[in-house]
């Protein structure tokens, strides 16, 4: 190793700066708070439109869903001016995201089929509303958790 002419205190300061900059990137690249209720609301509205079984409602609902989804995702993409490094998310973070999605799908299907079996009206909408509610309630904690996973990862090449 080349012997640098810096003190341990300035090395510690440099490491603190590196940590701070990484935290800055992670915070800036997480999806915003409004994303989850917005996406949940769109899913519920679209499912309800399908479940009316009226062609014109389905047509209007489909177009509104496409426009709404494009607006929500587009807004996130436009303000997205850096992509967090995949090594920060890591296997642990990727598994967390995959399990989260699977649980949401299972919740939607399970609630929908249960509502249908119970003879309730609008079973798919009930399933979607449950999922939308779960997304709204857990989206922010999920982001907090992923933020913690990414910011506590060892610096440099450490995995």
């Amino acid at each position: 190793m080349t012997e640098p002419g810096i003190t341990p205190a300035s090395a510690a300061d440099a490491l603190a700066e590196i940590h701070a900059r990484r935290d800055q990137v992670v915070t800036a690249t997480l999806v915003p708070h409004w994303y989850w209720p917005a996406l949940g609301g769109l899913i519920v509205a679209f499912t309800a439109a399908v479940e009316t079984r009226r062609p014109w409602v389905l047509a209007v609902g489909s177009v509104a869903y496409a426009i709404g989804l494009a607006a929500v995702v587009g807004r996130v993409v436009v303000r997205h001016r850096a992509q967090v490094h995949t090594s920060l998310i890591g296997v642990h973070g990727a598994i967390t995201i995959a399990v989260y999605v699977l649980v949401l799908v299972a919740l939607s299907l399970g609630t929908g089929f249960a509502a249908e079996a119970a003879g309730l009206a609008w079973p798919a909408t009930i399933g979607a509303a449950t999922t939308g509610g779960a997304m709204t309630a857990t989206g922010l904690p999920l982001m907090r958790y992923l933020r913690r996973v990414m910011t506590t990862r060892p610096l440099g090449g450490g995995r």
Binding site: T2, A20, G158
Partner: protein
């Protein structure tokens, strides 16, 4: 774990902040880096040119619609140099018995 190698080029304060941001990203837009670091266009360009000349960053210019977009990526060599630099800093700190608190 990387081999400790102190890198004078990366350690300069502004470049340390810049490379630290880039190390946490797959890519970052020029505008994003400028805002996060509080630098002028010319100051950031100068730092990026220095890093590009030694092969630490790759700069890509493209268009999104009619808007020009400049994105910056830390190259493989840049990432290896950064990892080595972090390991060197950690070694210096470890030898002294100091500790670093993340976010401090």
């Amino acid at each position: 774990m990387s081999t400790p190698r102190f890198d004078e080029l990366i350690h300069a304060p502004t470049r340390l902040s810049l490379v630290s941001l880039l190390a946490a990203t797959e890519w970052a837009e020029f505008r994003y880096l400028r805002e996060q670091l509080g630098l002028s266009d010319s100051a950031l360009s100068k730092q990026l040119t220095t890093l590009e000349q030694v092969g630490y960053v790759e700069i890509r210019k493209s268009f999104v619609g009619k808007r020009p977009r400049t994105s910056v990526t830390l190259s493989r060599a840049g990432r290896a140099a950064f990892d080595g630099h972090v390991a060197a800093l950690q070694e210096i700190v470890a030898r002294s018995g100091l500790t670093v608190l993340p976010g401090g």
